[in-house]
Amino acid sequence: MIMDVDFLFETLLKLGRAVPVTLSLVGSTLLLGAVLACLILALRVSPYRALNHAARLYVFLFRGTPLLIQIFLIYYGVGQFQIVRESVMWLVLREPYACAVLSFSLCTAAYTSEIFRGALRSVPAGQIEAGMACGMPRWTLWRRIIAPITLRYALPAYSTEAVMMVKASALASLITVWEVTGVAQQIIQQSYRTLEVFLCAALIYLLINFLITRGLALLEYRLSPHLRARRASQAS
């Protein structure tokens, strides 16, 4: 098999045009997922046992089942009921794109809330006590001490989760959202050149993931200048 450079280039261009769909899918998923994750986290750390158990159950359900089945449940399963079809929700649930974002967000929220929880638990107690000793009100304490430290601790694990979501976005092609994998399949149906097209798609995903991990690593670096300074002074 001889690699046809023109065909590869053309394929990359066509797939490149689908990249915005993949990116917007991932972007809206991460945004909605992070908001949901904060909600679940709030329930999880609440002193009420019922709320706490509800959050645990949520995480258990969404982490214990494959994402594909969650997508199909929302896209095909919920749409089966007449009540849903007649309600306002149908405006959202009949759209494959919206269903993909919804199911991805629900799933990533379960994983992200656990990441946030781990980070929250490792905020040093002394920092919080110091804030309280300065007379900070609860809200200021959250905004200036707890949230920034949590964010910094959560970033490495969160970048893994973001990469997972980029990979998961390929599943949207199974419910007819034309992102990179979906377009790759369209091209294959026209050209019958399986290997080349899928390899081009793989290259695009690798590039996206590389940029995301680098970007988040850079953010982490920028967020912790005080930690670097101390390490440097210790070394000297």
């Binding site: 399963g77 009921f81 990979k167 290997l195 995903y205 690798l206």
Partner: protein
């Protein structure tokens, strides 16, 4: 619409899909097991390559983990199933065969999920090998153990023990990845629930049923892993306390 009741549809009678679904869950379990075994082979090889003194081998190991953790699982499965099949078909044409030759879905699925799981397992083994106290290896060498003896008696048992929690996570990932093999048409749990849902028009019911079966699988195997951890760690427990 629904002539048969929920109980009949999920039951074991002639109308029921119960038996088929349970069998499909069995296929999913076996597929994950095969993928995990294949992944162990790839994972150990890659972990060895990544910690080797040879620069080329290290780069190879690095490339493997970057690629298989960086591209979508679905794409890996497509690549192996369709790519492999088209390769097989063109080889078949070379020998005068005609028509499309498909790869066996179970083997392709196990291999594809295994390659992905191998990338994650490699990191688990590498971290576990680093966790072995160097003094113990030196002590073993000092009392005259051969290289293979050190491996068998000192390194391997400890690496396995340290790797168990990580392997438990990879196992859960692989169960969920195995659902994607449904795109090759292999009658595992995902594919079978799709078929059942399609032919009865009861999408919600059958996807929920499949989700419950997946939950049962992930929960029970998760328990088994923590049992195993407790068992292999029983000599450590005193020290930890």
């Amino acid at each position: 619409m629904a002539q048969a009741g929920i109980v009949e549809m999920l039951g074991f009678g002639p109308q029921g899909w119960g038996q088929v679904l349970l069998l499909a869950a069995m296929v999913t379990f076996l597929l994950t097991l095969a993928a995990m075994a294949a992944g162990a082979v790839f994972g150990i090889a890659i972990a060895a390559a990544k910690s080797s003194a040879h620069r080329g081998l290290r780069a190879l190991g690095e490339a493997y983990t970057t690629v298989f953790r960086g591209i979508p699982e679905l794409l890996v499965i497509y690549l192996f199933y369709f790519g492999g099949s088209s390769l097989l078909t063109s080889v078949g044409r070379l020998f005068g065969g005609e028509g499309f030759i498909g790869m066996p879905p179970f083997i392709v699925g196990a291999l594809a999920v295994g390659l992905i799981s191998g990338a994650y397992q490699a990191e688990v083994y590498r971290a576990a090998a680093l966790a072995v106290v160097p003094g113990e290896i030196e002590a073993a060498r000092a009392i005259g153990m051969s290289r293979s003896q050190v491996w068998r008696r000192v390194l391997a048992p400890q690496v396995l023990r340290f790797a168990l929690p990580g392997l438990g996570n990879v196992w859960q990932l692989s169960i969920k990845d195995s659902a994607l093999v449904s795109v090759t048409g292999l009658a595992e749990l995902m594919r079978t629930s799709q078929k059942a849902a399609g032919s009865t028009n009861e999408y919600f019911l059958f996807y929920i049923a499949a989700a419950v079966l997946y939950l049962v699988m992930t929960t029970f195997t998760g328990r088994a892993f923590s049992r195993l951890e407790a068992h292999t760690g029983r000599s450590l427990r005193r020290a930890a306390r």
